[in-house]
């Protein structure tokens, strides 16, 4: 493992970094070196993360929070230290961090807090103090945007279907920015929740969080930020963002699969009824009824993903050693290079912002006369891993008039040489398919 000095953008030692990721030296298809540019879907894992997980299993594995024996003590300590480490990565406190299966589950945990509070209230069941904030009435509104990942759209549609609340959304402009002009119409006194993405996984757009938060705060709505595409790529501080809850996944930030995170203000968590119930989240249980532990335990029923938490903490360590500002700067440079390169290729149209202001590294495009999936297949044949499809943001595609896109999304271990390979391949697409 190689860790370079924090935030020393000049010292970005790409080959040392790449050596930490064994998969990057494999070949694909016809002995082509792998050019992995599908990082917005999931990232690769450095040896340090794999070692941390394995060390946990080989030395301290036990069920946490339940044991009098030494392994259980060690496992609990490592799990809770991981929680603290990961919370601090986004500027939060340990008891404000809940582990979930992935970001999708974290968003569902929030949407189900509303459902459960609403249903329990109607049934006269017990609720935590402050839970009224989560009780919805018909006509209450929930606001998202037109550039959400399905994970931050479908759960709210479902919640509306079940409670009679109404889903509204902030539209987007033709170049893939939030249509702030329409925001005042959408966020109103009826708005109970504003849940939006920090950075679009399809367009790369980084949203103006402060403006949206200000509008939401004016009407007292709960503010949720989907940080799946920001936490892995830039410094994120929950206090500076002034939001109520933040959700993201471990697997996109060098961490293991099978772990996601929900950070939320303590007072919000305190007021939420449980979601998944069972062992380790209770206070007292009789056959007749149960009472529940305080957060974060209230939201972590059953044996948790301990090894994955330990691995994700190691990923935070790795990222912090590089420095998140340096990571962002490196990606910014790559994004400029990629945008410029694509713009020079005839028949290529970028879907999303073409200027590199408030923009992340996920770059979607379409090629005239060639379907995005065929583009991706052609790239794949050159060893380039790109993503194709609607990227779980189908309504965004519809809004921008494309059925799908091809997406390149470089990360910290990619360099310009990767983009040169990709651009070269994109140049070959139209000739191959006879479209030019």
């Amino acid at each position: 493992m190689t860790l370079i000095a924090p935030d020393s953008a000049t010292a970005w030692d790409l080959s040392a970094i790449r050596a930490d990721f064994p998969i990057l030296s494999r070949t694909v298809r016809n002995d082509r070196p792998l050019v992995y540019l599908d990082n917005a879907a999931t990232s690769q894992k450095p040896t340090m993360v794999l070692d941390a997980e394995r060390r946990y299993y080989e030395t301290s594995n036990a069920a946490v929070h339940r044991g009098a024996h030494q392994l259980a003590e060690e496992a609990t300590e490592q799990y809770e230290q991981a929680r603290a480490r990961i919370a601090s990565f986004v500027g939060g406190a340990p008891d404000e961090l809940v582990f979930t299966r992935n970001a999708t589950e974290a968003l569902n945990l929030l949407s189900y807090a509303f459902l459960n509070a609403t249903v329990k209230k109607a049934a006269g069941a017990e609720l935590p103090a402050g839970a009224d904030r989560f009780v919805l009435a018909a006509g209450d509104e929930i606001v998202v945007t037109e550039m959400e990942h399905h994970a931050n759209l479908v759960p709210w549609q479902e919640l509306c279907d079940k409670t009679g609340a109404v889903l509204r959304w902030i539209g987007i402009t033709d170049d893939g920015r939030l249509d702030l002009a329409s925001m005042a119409e959408v966020i109103t006194d009826r708005t109970r929740v504003v849940s939006f993405t920090h950075q679009s996984n399809l367009l790369g757009t980084i949203n103006p969080v402060a403006e949206v938060v200000a509008a939401a705060r004016r009407v007292g709505a709960v503010v949720i930020l989907d940080a799946c595409q920001s936490v892995p790529h830039m410094p994120v501080d929950v206090l500076a963002l002034d939001i109520d809850a933040l959700t993201w996944s471990g697997h996109k930030m060098l961490g293991p699969t099978g772990i996601g995170c929900l950070w939320a203000k303590r007072e919000l968590l305190d007021a939420m009824p449980p979601f998944i119930t069972g062992g380790s989240m209770i206070e007292q249980v009789t056959m007749e009824r149960s009472t529940f532990a305080p957060p974060p335990q209230r939201f972590e029923a059953g044996v948790p993903m301990v090894a994955q938490a330990v691995g994700l903490a190691a990923a935070c360590e790795y990222l912090d050693a590089l420095g998140m500002s340096a990571v962002a700067a490196h990606e910014h440079d790559l994004t400029s290079y990629l945008l410029a390169g694509l713009e020079q290729i005839e028949g290529v149209t970028i879907i999303g912002p073409t200027n590199n202001i408030d923009r992340g590294s996920a770059v979607s495009f379409v090629v005239d006369g060639v379907h995005p999936h065929d583009v991706g297949q052609f790239l794949d044949d050159r060893g380039i891993a790109a993503r194709v499809g609607h990227h779980c943001a189908w309504p965004t595609c519809r809004r921008l008039g494309v059925p799908a896109t091809t997406r390149l999304s470089p990360y910290l271990y990619n360099g310009r040489h990767d983009l040169d390979e990709a651009l070269d391949a994109v140049r070959g697409v139209r000739p191959y398919f006879g479209a030019a």
């Binding site: 060639v370 398919f433 006879g434």
Partner: protein, 166 residues
């Protein structure tokens, strides 16, 4: 594995110049199928005619958008099944499905499949299997619906859904 084994010339030709494309009348059943991973959509209409107890595929018309594989596959399907006896058409569909799902283990029978053997290469690209089958699954679904007035499946339901997730 070579990209040209996937994109055989015949596929690219059909993609650029699809045969029988466009929705026509008359038809018995029209279905709308979607590939949920990519968002591509296809309408397929089937018109069957019965004569002396023998059912014939009088017309298959289709329209939609999608990748080269899915578009070419619809076009080749039209060529192969149009005018065939229904039992024969379903046999061809079966052979095509089998070939595509075989991961390259089945030697396709050119007698039965004609131009469709060009799709043999698709079977080695699991992510494209759905593309090649989209039109054929729609056809089969439509036929099932014509066969049972009280159809068990709505076009929105099982068969498409099934396929959507393999």
């Amino acid at each position: 594995m070579d990209l040209n084994s996937l994109y055989q010339q015949i596929i690219l030709d059909h993609y650029k110049n699809p045969v029988g494309k466009g929705l026509r009348e008359p038809f018995d059943v029209s279905v709308h199928h979607v590939n949920p991973t990519c968002g591509d959509e296809l309408d397929v209409r089937v018109h069957l005619v019965e004569n002396d107890g023998v059912t014939t595929v009088d017309d298959i018309s289709y329209d939609g958008q999608g990748c080269s594989i899915s578009q070419a596959s619809a076009s080749v399907m039209y060529e192969l099944l149009q005018g065939q006896e229904l039992t024969e058409a379903l046999a061809i569909e079966g052979a095509f499905h089998e070939m595509i799902s075989s991961r390259g283990t089945i030697e396709p029978d050119e007698e039965v499949l004609g131009d469709a053997v060009a799709f043999a290469g698709v079977s080695k690209y699991p992510a494209r299997v759905k593309c090649a089958l989209l039109a054929w699954m729609a056809f089969k679904d439509a036929v099932v619906q014509t066969q049972s007035a009280s159809s068990l499946f709505s076009s929105h339901d099982a068969p498409n859904g099934e396929e959507a997730t393999t």
